[in-house]
């Protein structure tokens, strides 16, 4: 999960001098490759166009969509202002129902809690339903490494996550983890597991997955889920899925562990009516997902299903430091993924280019916030600031404004190149002084003479980032202000 591993393999054809251009490393290097991948592009278009059509029909078509969004924003705002008391309230409610609650300050705490629990239970098989919080802390990998002696078999049961796990891949989208894979690739992965050639047929592949996963569901010792929402008032956690796997993960094994980011909390049970609507409609474009589960503590007396033991892990992992700051709104996210679907950058590059668990606009915002600017230096710049993300966000996070603030934070921290900061200092001086602006234009007009050909500026050192790809119009013979002076 390294965010900006220096790739250092500079393209030798790249004539860009270090300056305003981003180095061809990190996001920029991965994106450069991704935009050439037509298969990836087709897969992304297929998924995002379908979910966008659904979202437009089912969310923005709601007559009260703006009110719902406003309500969700206000609810989150109030929740964050009183987060400590809501978390305490939720913990009390869970404990009252016989559940266990653990506050984890980071991923290490979570790994240790679950690893120790697995040891204590003598667990062999752990089933999981889709959870971005556990992806964020690389739970599977860490458990396998730190608790190697337990020889745990950890199985993702969301179909996409399972295929990603089998392929040794990571999710490239919050909601559609393997949208970057097409049918051919999925068939290849599953055939490898089956040890025989499976037909590239969705029903047959689904049947194969069902048979394999069923065996794990039945024999699991511990089930791990995330939480789409956690209700402070009742201690209820909500999971929404389309495959029903979360039900098998939470009801068959004797132990259910929930890993929930602390920002997923909402005050009241009735708030679920707002948030569940927003999540399904804007995430997948469904009015409601196929399975919506509300789980409150372990199986009670006289109840027919539910785990015997219930553990709620409330994970901070960098979130609480955003409280009360100008970045707090980033915590309002309900992980619907719709900002990824509308983002023209994401649509060109896919999620892996971001090099972080969370991709797209929300990933570009929260990765530097949770992990530090140096870990995700290039992500705030991975945006044309078109604002489609802020426009679509069902809880009204001003994503592109937060990206701007993050760029400013890097500048203030002195992270930009010297050449760039000198350039903008010069820019300010020039633009504050009309005489300097006019003189600059005059010099430019003379300087460009040898390089203007057929109405375009030919290659000039330092302009390659533009001219390698696009024609560059020269300065006009006469500026507007000169024409005005002469009379229009």
């Amino acid at each position: 999960m390294t965010t900006s591993k220096p790739a250092r393999r500079r393209d030798t054809t790249d004539k860009r001098a270090e300056g305003i251009e981003s180095k061809v490393e990190g996001f920029n290097a991965r994106a450069k490759e991704a935009v050439k991948d037509q298969e990836l592009h087709d897969s992304i278009s297929l998924f995002t166009n379908k979910t966008l059509t659904g979202r437009n029909a089912n969310f923005w078509a709601l007559p009260n969509a703006p009110e719902l969004r406003e309500k969700a924003y206000r609810t989150k705002q109030e929740t964050m202002a009183n987060l400590d008391s809501y978390l305490a309230q939720m913990a009390d409610a869970v404990e009252e129902r016989g559940g266990n609650v653990f506050f984890a300050s980071d991923g290490e705490d979570v790994v240790k809690y679950i690893g120790d629990l697995a040891r204590c239970k003598g667990a062999k098989i752990i089933t999981k339903s889709k959870s971005m919080a556990t992806e964020e802390i690389e739970l599977n990998h860490r458990l396998e490494e730190d608790y190697a002696d337990l020889d745990l078999e950890i199985v993702e049961t969301d179909l996409g996550e399972w295929i990603a796990q089998l392929a040794g891949d990571t999710p490239s989208h919050i909601v559609g983890p393997i949208l970057h894979m097409n049918k051919r690739r999925v068939t290849e992965v599953l055939s490898g597991v089956a040890g025989e050639e499976l037909p590239p047929d969705v029903a047959a592949l689904g049947q194969f997955a069902r048979e394999r996963l069923r065996e794990k569901f039945i024999n699991a010792d511990i089930g791990i889920t995330g939480a789409n929402f956690g209700v402070a008032e009742t201690g209820t956690i909500a999971t929404v899925t389309n495959e029903g796997n979360a039900r098998l993960v939470t009801s068959v094994p004797p132990v259910h562990v929930v890993v929930m980011g602390i920002e997923k909390i909402i005050p009241k049970f009735e708030d679920l009516s707002t948030f569940v609507q927003l999540l399904g409609r804007s995430g997948t474009g469904q009015k409601i997902t196929v399975y919506t589960n509300f789980i409150t503590g372990p199986r009670g007396e006289g109840e027919l299903d539910g785990a015997e033991e219930f553990h709620l892990i409330l994970m901070d992992n960098g979130r609480s430091k955003l409280l009360g700051t100008e970045y707090e709104e980033a915590l309002y996210c309900i992980r619907c993924g719709s900002c990824l679907n509308v983002c023209p950058v994401y649509r060109q590059t896919g999620g892996h280019a971001y090099g972080s668990t969370y991709s797209g606009p929300i990933g570009a915002v929260i990765t530097p916030l949770l992990k530090g600017d140096k870990e995700a230096k290039d992500l705030p710049y991975a945006s044309s600031l078109c604002g489609a993300c802020s426009e679509t966000c069902p809880v009204g996070i001003p994503l592109h404004d937060l990206l701007l603030k993050l760029r400013n934070r890097q500048v203030e921290e002195g992270m930009s190149t010297r050449a760039e900061s000198l350039m903008f200092k010069g820019f300010e001086r020039t633009m504050r002084t009309p005489a300097a602006y006019r003189a600059g234009a005059k010099v430019g007009k003379i300087a460009q003479k040898p390089v203007v050909k057929d109405g375009s500026i030919k290659r000039v050192p330092g302009t390659g980032a533009w001219t390698n790809f696009r024609g560059l119009a020269p300065l006009a013979e006469k500026s507007f202000r000169e024409m005005w002076k002469e009379g229009i």
């Binding site: 994106a31 060109q348 600031l385 489609a388 760029r407 500048v411 930009s416 633009m431 696009r470 300065l475």
Partner: protein, 244 residues
């Protein structure tokens, strides 16, 4: 009606003919036009690269130049530069109450060209004619921050001889994004290519926008890829045909 022109720096220096068309169209509609000589740039390049201090320096100069009562409105042929002043000056002066107030007051008087024509002057037809098949690209600031979506289309639909066509995924950004276009040129150009594919599919031979910056990017890419699509600012189209 008296207006001050705010001509963005790249229009002043690279596409001055756009400014000339703005003047001609406004005068034709009986508007008295003036051009404050001290103007330079709105500061957006520094702002969107994260250099807020430098952007504030430029913004202060802008406020000094335009904060006069002798004109009713400030009209700008760019949705993006209009947004910088009307939306993002208050944003960068958020913690400086005096300047924020100045910025907010001035922000209300700055209007994008098509917004001014339709919503202030109440004009939807200017008596222009232009032949060809066109698509219109709405810049993202114009679309989302200003919400000026229908105004340019209404004006274009009333241009005699011009057929305005729809194109796929019209709402997608062209990929310019200010310094984004040179910081991450590969992605920026991939975005332009998607727009160009949609343009080709529409069969249009003219690309029109209210933002010369989007046009510089899309037009530059069209030229590089051997297209002969005509690139026009809305003001140039409205200024074409028989003199009224």
């Amino acid at each position: 009606m008296r207006v001050a022109l705010f001509i963005p720096c790249y229009v002043d220096l690279i596409n001055p003919e756009v400014g000339v068309s703005v003047v001609r169209v406004l005068r034709k509609l009986g508007v008295e036009v003036t051009y404050p000589r001290g103007q330079t740039c709105c500061g957006q390049p520094a702002f969107n690269s994260g250099y807020f201090d430098e952007a504030r320096g430029v913004a202060r100069h802008f406020l000094d130049v335009f904060e006069k009562e002798e004109w009713d409105y400030i009209v700008c042929p760019s949705g993006s530069c209009t947004t910088m002043v009307s939306h993002y000056y208050p944003f960068i002066f958020e913690e400086l109450p005096d300047e924020r107030e100045r910025a907010e007051t001035l922000g209300h008087r700055v209007r994008e060209f098509s917004d001014f024509l339709v919503n202030v002057l109440g004009v939807k037809e200017v008596g222009a004619s232009h032949s060809g098949h066109a698509v219109f690209h709405t810049g993202c600031h114009q679309r989302r921050e200003l919400g000026v979506l229908n105004e340019p289309r209404e004006l274009l639909r009333n241009v005699a001889g011009l057929e305005l066509r729809e194109w796929e995924n019209e709402e997608l950004c062209c990929g310019f994004g200010g310094t984004f276009s040179v910081k991450m040129p590969d992605v920026s150009v991939a975005m332009a290519d998607e727009k160009i594919a949609a343009l080709e599919k529409s069969g249009a031979d003219i690309l029109i926008s209210c933002d010369s910056s989007c046009l510089m990017h899309l037009g530059g890419r069209l030229k590089k890829t051997g297209h002969d699509t005509r690139i026009l600012h809305l003001a140039q189209v409205l200024d074409s045909g028989k003199a009224g």
